[in-house]
Symmetry: C2
Subunit: 368 residues, 2 copies
């Protein structure tokens, strides 16, 4: 069995915090005590220095290039977890007499919907819960109410390994998308969205940073006074993400990640690689008598591949043995169990090949 | 003039993000691609793995030891900037018919007071604004209203270089303290406080983490539903700071910092060092015909020393020349100008000696 080990490193299939490209970690390591010939770590640099503001401007410029973000969209680098957006979105965009539409396709969109219901008016256009989140409800079946302030959905559900295989056609109703696990893994047409957000710890940087891309007309909706100035998109935009100290080191890694993606050939190239990685694994699963995958083919995530062993009693042994072979973090999310391989941009095809080889060997060695 | 340079490194007098102990950076550098023999960076480790939960538990235990935190106080490691606390505190602790007391002694307490006024009822017990924040109003002069839910204050004001040289005696009224710039730089009696918070980027770790220490009885005050579940102290406590993905790398550095403080001999030893560092600089300033410091002696910060040159036209030259000599980030806060030397735990006495030597030389070479 071929396992390509990078020095002492393992292939990390964790859903997030996830694997980072080794070249980025090596650069960060090299610069950790002396960044940019400053005699300081980037972590020790004041966020209002010309050095750091240049870094953040560079990061934003690179991201705008990678995703062709038009000028009438603002980019925010916010501290903290993406989950804060579950509240910030309705707090900023949903006025007292309005209601928002939520598509529930897995655990994350379910939690975002629960958060909005605590305080504002929202309804569920469709839910995949009856299929145990193994399929996306047909667009034709959605219960879309005429007066919807926005449609919120999660194009890729990290926990359930399912993606929405189309962009909902909602006319003038702005789309709000939680792209935490898929931003930068495939090309997107930004102009189809009103607001996109993504936690950094999958495809962007380390945990503690959330990117928000927001269209100018939505910025104007924030009610005054909003509860908590830190949660006001307008204030954060006016202050260029520096209303408070931003997570400096995360922004630094994000800038490196954007450069790395550019060097790989851009998002389209990574998308093709991601499809090849996912295809390799799903093809293996589809012909297997030993493993199974719950999601219907047309809605399978190319990023988070959920699967299980037909004899579930073997799964713990699988996880342990894989870890010994340098294939880490293959357990499913704690809420649903099973197995999961996350194949973010940083996962090389060699990692997936090694995983498939291991899976074949494990099936051979362990009768069901 | 003696300047002790650590390799290519400089003495960084920035107020935050601030200098970190070199030994911590060296350890982090060494482990950056392979932490704890995991074959992964700590940034790539799932936050719910046994490895990371053990790290966070160790960090909490160390902090509890360093500050003798009693069991009826909870410790939270929250993602994002400390400024979020300006809203979280009233959102969690202040009910509709209640009012809170705020002591305004500098820019940060002034901003916290402005935030509470946007949404809740609060009043100012006393303000140092008329002295341009160069003195703390006498406790006897405070306008304390009988019914105050809590007293909020900022024991050390980073921008203005001023400290409150006593703990306000408020009877049963809980004290809430923003200790962003002073936590772990001097011993404190936790039981005098109801809630303490601190952003990490001064004395704890890199930017993107906020510590909160909160007494159990205050946790019970959170109204339901609170706006934004992420801002609910109770929920964060029940989830052991893992309601969402915490800032993993910052927590890792914080754990190292707590161990480092322990190795130095604890908070009391660092306090004595900090006093010695501050005394060296203030003594020099007090006898100088060239430099001046605005704060009254009894309220001078031991952490952020604000000063200026009697001929302000020389300050830019001072900053530039100091930087060339490896003494970095001596400019005052952008809102008030002047000069400032921040002397957090990580600043060695040699750095302050080098600064004083440089200041003497600069005064000699530049007529007023």
């Amino acid at each position: 069995m071929k396992i390509f080990m990078m020095k002492n490193r393992v292939y990390n299939f964790g859903a997030g915090p996830a694997m980072l490209p080794e070249s980025i970690l090596l650069e960060a390591q090299d610069e950790l005590l002396d960044w940019n010939n400053s005699g300081m770590s980037v972590m020790e640099i004041g966020h209002r220095t010309s050095e750091f503001t240049a870094l953040l401007e560079h990061a934003e410029k690179s991201l705008r290039q990678l995703l062709s973000i038009p000028k009438h969209y603002q980019v925010l680098f916010l501290g903290g977890a993406a989950r804060t957006q579950f509240a910030m979105i309705p707090m900023n965009l949903l006025h007292p007499n309005e209601q928002a539409a939520y598509l529930v396709t897995g655990i994350w969109s379910q939690m975002a919907y629960a958060e909005v219901l605590r305080l504002k008016k929202a309804y569920c256009v469709a839910s995949g819960e009856s299929s145990n989140f193994s399929a996306i409800p047909d667009f034709e079946s959605w219960d879309i109410k005429k007066e919807s302030t926005y449609l919120y959905y999660t194009p890729n559900e990290t926990v359930n390994g399912i993606r929405v295989p189309f962009i909902p056609e909602m006319g003038e109703v702005p789309l709000i998308a939680d792209m935490t696990s898929c931003l930068l893994s495939e090309p997107i047409d930004i102009e189809r969205y009103g607001l996109i957000f993504a936690g950094a710890q999958k495809n962007i940087a380390n945990a503690g940073l959330t990117l928000v891309i927001i269209r100018d007309d939505l910025l104007a909706r924030t009610p005054k006074p909003i509860v908590a100035t830190m949660m006001d998109y307008q204030i954060q935009t006016e202050n260029h993400s520096m209303y408070a100290t931003p997570p400096v080191f995360n922004c630094y890694l994000a800038a490196k990640m954007f450069d790395w993606i550019q060097k790989q050939g851009g998002v389209q190239v990574l998308y093709e690689r991601n499809c090849a990685k996912a295809q390799l694994l799903y093809q293996f699963l589809d012909v297997s008598y030993f493993y199974t995958t719950p999601v219907v083919p047309e809605a399978r995530s190319i990023i988070n591949v959920c699967f299980s062993i037909k004899n579930k009693a073997l799964e713990q042994k699988f996880i342990t043995l894989a870890r010994e072979k340098g294939l880490a973090a293959l357990q499913g999310h704690r809420t649903i169990g099973g197995l999961r391989a996350s194949l973010y941009n940083a996962m090389p095809i060699a990692g997936v090949e090694a995983l498939v080889d291991f899976m074949a060997e494990f099936a051979q060695d362990n009768p069901l």
